[in-house]
Amino acid sequence: METAVHKVAPSTRANASSFGCVRIYRNAALFLLMAVLYVPAAKGQAEGPVITGSAGFLYSNNDGQTSVQPILTPVVLVPLGSHLLVETSAQLQGYIARSSANGPYEGQFFGTLQYLQLDWVVNSHLTVVAGRFTTPFNIYGERLGPMWLHNLQDAPLIYPIGTRTTGSSNGGMVRGVVVSRPTWLLNYTVFFSTLSEVSNLESGRAFGARTGIFLPRARLEVGTSYQRFLQDQHNDSYGAYFSWQPRSAPVDAKGEYAHSPQGHGYWIEAALRFKDSGKGGLALAKFQPVVRGQQFFRKAPGVNDFLPATDTQRVDFGLNYYPIPSVRLNASYGRQFTDARDINYWTADITYHFLFPMAFWLKESK
């Protein structure tokens, strides 16, 4: 995730187990390397590895603090036979900002492994996932996480709920479709994650589940999430979400509610799809206005929970422009309200979504 990277509070127990974690990840890396090396044996098949992902340059001004962030998020997909897939994504990110009000710009660069997972698609009802994967809680992290997919640059205020500690989990997950009918579909996800403090591979010990009902005719999905955090103070987080693209109007509406012992809140977002409205001609079809409102209510103080310290309301207005489908220009303005003071947020960015066959596979892919 290109959103906040949440650090785990150090613990003696974790330090003692970190060497074990290193061994596990080394073995996992070796296994995946073997899997990738196996790929040439499958050259006769009509599928091969691809590299996709996004590149972006983000500008933001938060309450007068200006920063720019170049970000590259490559995703490598390696299908193995007809049921297996190795997928991995890393985020290489720079953060350049003034060290003081009138000081020079200084930069930091860092990389994080977002996921490195082996998927075994048994059938439509069951997919088994092992490795490091995006924590499945509500829909923002897993479905809207890539920067070319979310409509506004900043993550919602409640994003840290249910995605501790980093938005990624190390462990196992099963997911699939329980029932699929022409008029409705019920899906599920169940996962567990181990504690890891290995640099760039951090995760929290937790287990959780998510389920959703999708109504294709109404183009409406609603669902709920639950997570039990099993390290330090054990606690429960739960949430609900919806995603609705009504056929009667060119609107893309999404929203989430999340609750944790530290606080709860919601966000709701609507984007107008001129492209689908059939109005305004080709020029207008490339624009997408967006509005998002959100509230967070603090219930108890939290340490490193990355949630707002007090009750907070925020509203954002954005405009996306797509000169070509793979490139997006975005600008937005947001205002945040708290009892202490109100803050302005300005953002602008350009993102590019790419997709190529892997270089060593080019000859076969033609």
Binding site: V50, V78, P79, L149, P216, Q245
Partner: protein, 94 residues
Amino acid sequence: MRSRSNLVVLALVAVSLVSAATSRAGRQNVNTKAAAKVDEAAEGEKRFVTNCGRCHQPPSDISPREAKAVLRQMRVRAMLSAEDERLILKYLAP
């Protein structure tokens, strides 16, 4: 002698008719397959709009190999069925 030549002519006519009928059936079969392919692509577009279109637009240019890899990933993330995967592939990279 005449009856033998008549039989030969009759056999030639029969072979020609069978050949023409087979050829016509083959063309019909090809046409039927092409129509089925178009139907599947149209159904794939519907399923793309219903499932994938909730988050993003269709890619402008994608090869069958690229589409297969991405669809495998989406089968996991977006929980597409095997039938969805097959039909959307027909739409994205026929």
